[in-house]
Symmetry: C2
Subunit: 653 residues, 2 copies
């Protein structure tokens, strides 16, 4: 394709200038561009394919950025980007990385917000509309929501407040009959009846919130949509336009159920929040089909790679739980809508039956629900991304920790990564680790991970536990056999203690310098120990990187695997002070509010050690980062062997 019309679109004015008869051809070009882009690059293709005509119609009818369009969670914003000066980033594979997967005001004045979490568009749009009305301004405010995100808690608060506010506000509900995996919740029956009745059935969820309502069945017919949007342009009150679209329109039906990876499937190791739909290149012909469920399409670059850590450890966890289902009726896995990305495969879900619950995109509910199950004697295991657990901060504290119910949270994607700025895992330690009564575990191997999960879901545990699922740093080390065996065996401890991971593990006993390497930094910790000891490799695997230091003086440093970040192991910390003058903490998350600061503070406040032990902390700055490659972040934060060794040698000098 050469983007014949699309190449001429540099902004909404160019869409306005087209002859109406050209719009279907533009949509066709966009659809083909999306599929090729998804093939090469990956992305939320399914939801965008369903929104091609609606987005063209929006920019045909409205006048962005004077009219402000807010795309919920940005899953449906690719076409918007193409129409607002960024088509080349989709048309030219060499330029794919010029745009993010999310709206971003830094990219374009047509993007109102950076958004990557669901359900906030209506509330944000209410705010835009309120400011407009206070200032006596004009212009339409449009929220585009759907693709499962309508079931998010905050979306309902927005719906409920929109009617009361009054004034111009247009809420486009993109009803594609599905969420990330499937739609969940009683309201989807209501939406189905509305679709079946051309929008006339009662009860109507939207009018129940006091909103005006229009229904458009032909949600992939651009002329119909132009007419529908024109009818609500400059409306003087909030109105919902419910459009029925076909997710993945244009993709082959062959991928209809391909939302999961098996262990043998090719995949990519992206830290995105979603699963991977496997699309073979030969299936990419334009056909009339439906792209179900998880919608990150595997880019070619990822094919043939082994499973990433999320799915690898997720599948391990699910397999270990599944073996117990028959004997433990109360054991239940909960996923708020993104199972595939966490190794909770379709096949597992089918076998798990009542032992598996997908709550839809409803993290808050999921945590309270888990607490309820645990309170009544069940053993819930709730799996989602670190970034999405942020939604549940209050439930983690109140419903879960204050009530001390034995629910297990599997925290996927915690730690540094090259993710976009809306899905960073850098903040989870500072969030979880400061909640009273929440046990926070950071396993450094698959074996530890399964041991911890077995314990947290057993009768031996009576309170809430979050397990930070190991990341690729650990998986890669396990696969390469790079990790030495620890000096002591935690499993024996695990069998003994009611709270077996309250003690740090001495992985290697040395002196003078102790490296405390939390979670994903544990392999890095080993490399630092090796480098300090002398002839071992630096960051780039070459011995000469550290040769100068090694020549200086070999140090037999101690390596400590803390295993957890919720409590201080005062005995071990005190013992370390006997034979170590320097303590170095490593963590792959934000230092401020994180774990290393607690170690520093512990030593500083104990008169025995305050003058004799120095502590230095290595971790991330308090900042948002956007698609900075992990190696770049590690370099920036000094999370490399060379940087750490250099800091240690300076501190000892």
């Amino acid at each position: 394709m050469n983007g014949g019309i699309l190449h001429t679109i540099h902004g909404p004015a160019d869409v306005h200038a087209l002859d109406a008869a050209q719009l279907p051809a533009l949509c066709d070009e966009i659809r083909r561009t999306l599929i090729a882009y998804g093939h090469a690059h990956g992305g939320h293709i399914g939801s965008n394919l369903g929104m091609v005509e609606a987005t063209v119609a929006l920019h045909r009818v409205f006048d962005s950025p004077r009219d402000r369009i807010v795309f919920d969670v940005s899953h449906q914003s690719y076409v918007h980007k193409m129409l607002t000066g960024r088509a080349d980033a989709y048309l030219d594979p060499a330029r794919n990385d010029e745009v993010t997967g999310f709206t971003n005001p830094d990219e374009s004045d047509h993007d109102q917000f950076v958004l990557g979490h669901t359900g906030t568009s209506i509330s944000l749009a209410c705010g835009l509309a309120k400011a407009r009305d206070l200032a006596g301004g004009r212009g339409n405010v449009i929220a585009v929501i759907g693709d499962g995100s309508l079931s998010s808690a905050i979306a309902f608060e927005g719906l409920n407040n929109a009617a009361e506010q009054g004034g111009n506000l247009i809420i486009i509900v993109n009803d594609n009959e599905m969420s990330i995996a499937e739609d969940h919740g009683g309201m989807y029956g209501t939406l189905a009846r509305l679709r079946a009745s051309n929008g006339t059935a009662e009860p109507n969820l939207f009018t129940a919130f006091g909103l005006d309502y229009r229904y458009v069945e032909a949600g992939n017919d651009v002329a119909t949509l132009v007419e529908a949007f024109t009818a609500v342009r400059d409306v003087d009150h909030p109105v919902v336009v419910h459009i029925h679209t076909r997710k993945g329109l244009g993709l082959p039906t062959a991928i209809d159920t391909a939302d999961d990876d098996d262990a043998t499937s090719p995949t990519h190791t992206d830290n995105a929040d979603d699963g991977d739909a496997v699309v073979a290149a030969e299936d990419l012909a334009i056909t009339d089909g439906r792209c179900e469920a998880n919608h990150w399409i595997n880019p070619d670059a990822a094919s043939g790679r082994p499973l990433g850590a999320r799915k690898h450890y997720g599948q391990l966890a699910m397999a270990s739980l599944e073996r117990r289902f028959a004997a433990e009726p109360g054991l239940v896995v909960i996923s708020p809508a993104t199972p595939g990305s966490n190794g909770i495969t379709r096949a597992f879900r089918a076998r798990a039956g009542r032992h598996y619950v997908d709550t839809g995109i409803t993290e808050e509910h999921a945590v309270a629900f888990a607490s309820g199950i645990a309170k009544a004697g069940g053993r819930p295991v709730l799996a989602t991304s670190a970034t999405f657990f942020q939604r549940t901060f209050d439930q983690l504290q109140q419903e879960l920790s204050l009530n001390h119910t034995p629910a297990t949270l599997l925290d996927f994607g915690g730690g540094l990564s090259g993710s976009d700025n809306t899905h960073s895992g850098a903040f989870d330690i500072a969030m979880f680790g400061n909640i009273p009564g929440l046990t926070c575990l950071a396993p450094t191997s698959g074996r530890d991970f399964l041991d911890m999960l077995a314990w947290s879901t057993s009768a031996a545990n009576d309170g809430p536990v979050v397990i930070r699922v190991p990341g690729d740093a650990i998986l890669n080390a396990e696969r390469s056999g790079a990790l030495p065996v620890s000096d002591d065996d935690p499993t024996a401890t695990a069998q003994r203690d009611a709270q077996p991971w309250c003690r740090y593990r001495i992985a290697h006993a040395g002196s003078r310098v102790a490296i405390l390497a939390l979670g994903n930094t544990y392999p890095l910790g080993w490399r630092v120990v090796d480098a300090l000891a002398g002839g071992v490799t630096g960051d780039n695997g070459k011995a000469d990187d550290v040769a100068d230091d090694a020549a200086e003086s070999a140090i037999d440093a101690t390596l400590v695997d803390p295993l957890q970040f919720s409590t201080m192991d005062g005995d071990t910390l005190a013992a370390l002070a006997d034979s170590h003058e320097l303590i170095v903490t490593l963590e792959d998350g934000q230092l401020e509010g994180g774990w290393g600061e607690k170690i520093t503070t512990w030593y500083a406040n104990d008169a025995r050690f305050a003058r004799t032990v120095r502590v230095i902390n290595v971790g991330a700055a308090k900042e948002f980062t956007d698609r900075v490659p992990l190696a770049g972040l590690n370099e920036r934060y000094g999370l490399t062997v060379d940087a750490i060794v250099a800091r240690i040698r300076r501190a000892l000098a």
Copy 2:
């Protein structure tokens, strides 16, 4: 009253055993008991008065604790407590403190959860029901929600998931036509039409979520309610029973609009989340009336006291903003449902007009809404409690800070207090202070507070700001004139800098020891400086408390007012190191993840100071506390002059 029947009720079995004809008399006794209790003690009396008959009917029909009843946010649980063995705590004023204002499993097996935040009951009940069904158990699960909390985000997620789950689940919607102040949102029109049509009108919000539905107009008629609950007992699917009750039934109509305090009104200084309805003793006759809005009734003990810090500083803030409304159309105050408690009086709200928005109990929406307003050029000021901001953690990070919109958050009730365990303000510094890009200010005087608010809402500020509203420690110091004037004047700085509070303020320049006293601990910091200097008073105001130390050696300690907890003032910290060997941080919140740890870590990681400067941190432990008096907490955490002086002298020894 002598509690004739109530005295005989020691549990639900005693309710079952009553003759049906006795139930109205029991309700009458309970209502009189509630009013007397509210008079003496304060509490959420209005909502409980409306729920007297429904609660008696619940315990008449169901078999708690086998049948599990979850009271949302606990506002409606007093009658439940009376009927489950705790009547004496309400009947006997001397025993009022034996029960909390919230359900609590430590008090009774009939209490399923500790709950004090709104909207979670349906999700928790879904969990209880799920565990029951997994285990093949029996028993009803009942969620009691209403009184405004139905508009909370998570409540909708629960409604949406309940139908899909299936199985026995009974959701009692207590529709008393109001929230804490007023009901807000489009769905309340729908509820009104349901009430007017005896539950038959469309659209029906509950059936729109796929739920079965029953309506009971006579929500204060115990026989009708017994019949309605009996009809759904052991139901095999989720059902909503929508009951129409009269909030405050039994209170005089005279207090109908009394939800606010003026500066001259008597009030109490409770740290509860709500406002105070002023009820004169002579109005406490039983009448048929309606208790509107804020429902903490002033206990007698509070009468005549001056305004507490929340209302005092809240009123100051509102007055300062109000003066600007005419000239600044985009300046708008947002309150998610608890205006009165934060000094946002009814009179102010009426005068503010479009400059004031009550979003109902919807914190998540409120933050995203504020970000939207700010994005479009408005200047939003969002006021709520520290504990309720927890609900918005993800919006604070994503919609607000990542998008860098200039919204101002007024954080009321932050810091230590004798609050119950569901409303603690001890966690706000650790929450706000670790979010990238969020400016966190901690004023130590009314003047600073207003200066900061003026700046954050001015064109000079381009990003999100949270201001921790000063607490009673500061107000009391201001009222008593106990605070010396600082050595330097921050206002000059404020006029100069774009980010005027990035520099710490040296309140008193000394040497050897520097006290960095954040926010509410600032008056304590002064007392410590005085005590170290020699002849000044200790915690109990008597000089001899510190006489021994003073005799030992007088220290002219430096006092630093950091003014903020979002960034390090490296210049000031470095300068302090020149002439101080000991740095002491004070904060009235959780140390872990808090502010002092950052100071300790800053010095520890700077090679210039790591061996020369010692830092000690004073603040709260990572724990939940329940109604421990503030003095007790301060004692426990060493936040007293004597304890701090002793630690300092030990550290210097």
